[in-house]
Structures are given as C-alpha cells and as structure tokens.
Symmetry: C2
Subunit: 185 residues, 2 copies
C-alpha cells in the first residue's frame, strides 16, 4: 500500500511547490482550505472534490494517459494501460494497491472503459457542434433583429410624418371653414 516513495516523492515535492491546482467545480465551495488566492483566474484550488469511490480509485490508480497529443495512436495506447504504467510510476513499493492484474467490477481499465470514453468523446463533439451552431444562430438572429428594428423605425418615422401632414391639412380646412362661415353670416 505504499505509494509513498520514489517518483512519488518528486511528485509530492512538486505538488508542494506547485500548489496542486484542481478542478473543484469552481462554483461550489470555495473557502475550505487556507490558500493564497491568485486573484481572478488564479489556480482553481486543490482537493478531492468527489467523495465517491470511483474518484478515489482514479486518484490511487494514477492512470497516466496522455490525452492531447496530436499523434494519438500513442495516446490511445497509453490510456489503455493505466495500471501497468502505475507499476512504473510507483516504483519500489511494487507490493500493493490494486494488484494490477485485477480489474475490479465495473471498469476503468480496458475495453469497456475505452468504449465508454469513445462514446462520450463522440457525444462531446456532437454537443459542442450543437452549441456552436446555437451561438451562431443567436448572433445571426441578433443581427437580423437589429436590421428589422431599423426598418421598423423608418416605417414609424414615415407614418409619423404622414399623420402630421394629415393633421396639418385638417387644421387648415377647419380654419377655412370657420372663415367662410363667419363671412357668410
């Protein structure tokens, strides 16, 4: 069970140095551990957000994956062998934690996991495309509405002038009528 030494040491040192930045969902809790805040956009604070088993597993399992390399064949491969790698990552104390050959219950290890990941990646791409389209549509709609607005205002201006003209015309008529009536009498 000791993940404690060797490479780990450098890791820990680094962590100390680097103030492990994590992803605490930002919105929720934000004042739990004393830490210097780097102002807006400082590092996201670090500590295990998820209390569920799986997360802890990942934590212990280490799973070095290498996700964003452009040449991803290698990428995929790396992800596959999470545990195997952990073997090397946790050097000397080769004794414990997840005997390595045991993929307990659900997944996280291989085929099943990769299938899940791949499906999710597809869903993510789809969702983002959708979002992009939505945003674009909103922008177009805004522009369109702006134009429409402009022409409506022109229309209003026109109608207003017309009303004014008609009213003016009528008032003139009234004056004339009044005059002629008075004259007649």
């Amino acid at each position: 069970m000791s993940i404690s030494d060797s490479p780990a040491s450098s890791i820990c040192m680094f962590a100390l140095h680097h103030q492990s930045s994590l992803n605490p969902d930002s919105s929720s809790m934000s004042a739990q551990m004393p830490q210097m805040d780097t102002g807006l956009y400082g590092q996201p604070m670090a500590f295990p957000k998820t209390p569920d088993g799986r997360s802890m597993e990942q934590m212990m399992g280490f799973m070095p994956y290498s996700s964003c390399l452009t040449p991803s064949s290698t990428e995929r491969a790396a992800q596959q062998n999470q545990q195997d790698f952990s073997q090397f990552l946790v050097p000397p104390p080769a004794s414990t934690l997840r005997p390595m050959g045991q993929k307990r219950g659900p997944s996280k290890d291989s085929v099943e996991y990769r299938l899940r990941r791949e499906r999710n990646n597809i869903a993510v791409r789809k969702s983002r495309d959708k979002a992009r389209r939505r945003i674009q549509l909103t922008q177009q709609r805004a522009l369109q509405l702006q134009d429409e607005n402009h022409s409506l205002q022109l229309h209003i201006q026109h109608l207003s002038h017309e009303v004014d003209a008609l009213r003016h015309y009528l008032s003139q008529r009234h004056l004339q009528e009044n005059l002629s009536e008075a004259t007649k009498k």
Copy 2:
C-alpha cells in the same frame, strides 16, 4: 535499460485495435489515409498534423500525462515524469531519440514547463469566461431587440390606424363639401 518488453506490448496491441483517434483539426485535410468513417462525430482520424519540430518531439517523447484527474496532485506528478514514461512506451527501439536523461534546450520537462502550462491555464480560464460573457450578452441583446421589435410593431399598428382614421375623416369631409356645393348650385 531495455524498454522493450512488458507494458509496452499491450499498448501497441491496443493501438492497433483501437485505430488511434487523433485530433487533425477536423477542418483541414480529411482524406489522407484510408480509414472507415464512423459518420459525423466518428473518431477524428489519426496522423501527425503538425510538421514542426516540437510536435514530432512530443510524438516521440510520448509524454503520458494524466491531466484531468480531479485529485490533481497526482496529475501534476505524472506530467513531471514524461520522459521516464516514454522509456516504457517506446518499447524495442530503445536505442535512440532523446537519451532520456537529457532535457534538451528549452523545456517540456519541469519547472519551466509547468510555469508555461499554468500561465496558459489561467489564460484559458480567462478567455473562456470572456467567451461566456460575450455569448450571454449576445443572447440578452437578442431578447432585448425582440422586445423592442414588438413594441415598435405595436407603435406602427397604432400609427397606421391613426392614418386610416384621418384619411377616412377627410374623405367624409370631401363628400359633404361636394354635396353642399352641388346643392348650393
């Protein structure tokens, strides 16, 4: 120092099986290597997109990192030991490419690299916040314009009725005048 055996082998097998999916920028080139297309949102195809030195390095260097673990202290650690991993990842041809203990020139390895990454992460968070705000503003503007539009249309309706009324009134006056004139004569 033979990196040749064990974990690596499984990795390679997986790569073959899994048809390395990569990130070819999707927009650019898309028919270079024969591969089954999984339809829209299928996997992004794999092959080295970037012809520049650094990219190749990474390719070869492999750098398994493990970025998104919630418990990131481990994460950071993994990144730390990039090269060490490559040792295992690039199995047989243990002969060449980056002797492993040599961090050539610039960085990729440690402190410097982490600083760059951290700065970029901050920039990314900032940029995304900005984008979110921009999108929100656009949406609000669209809604606002829609409301404005609606009231402008009401205004137009009102003015139109007014013009109609005035015209109708005038036409009536004309009729009366014509009548009275005719009568007078």
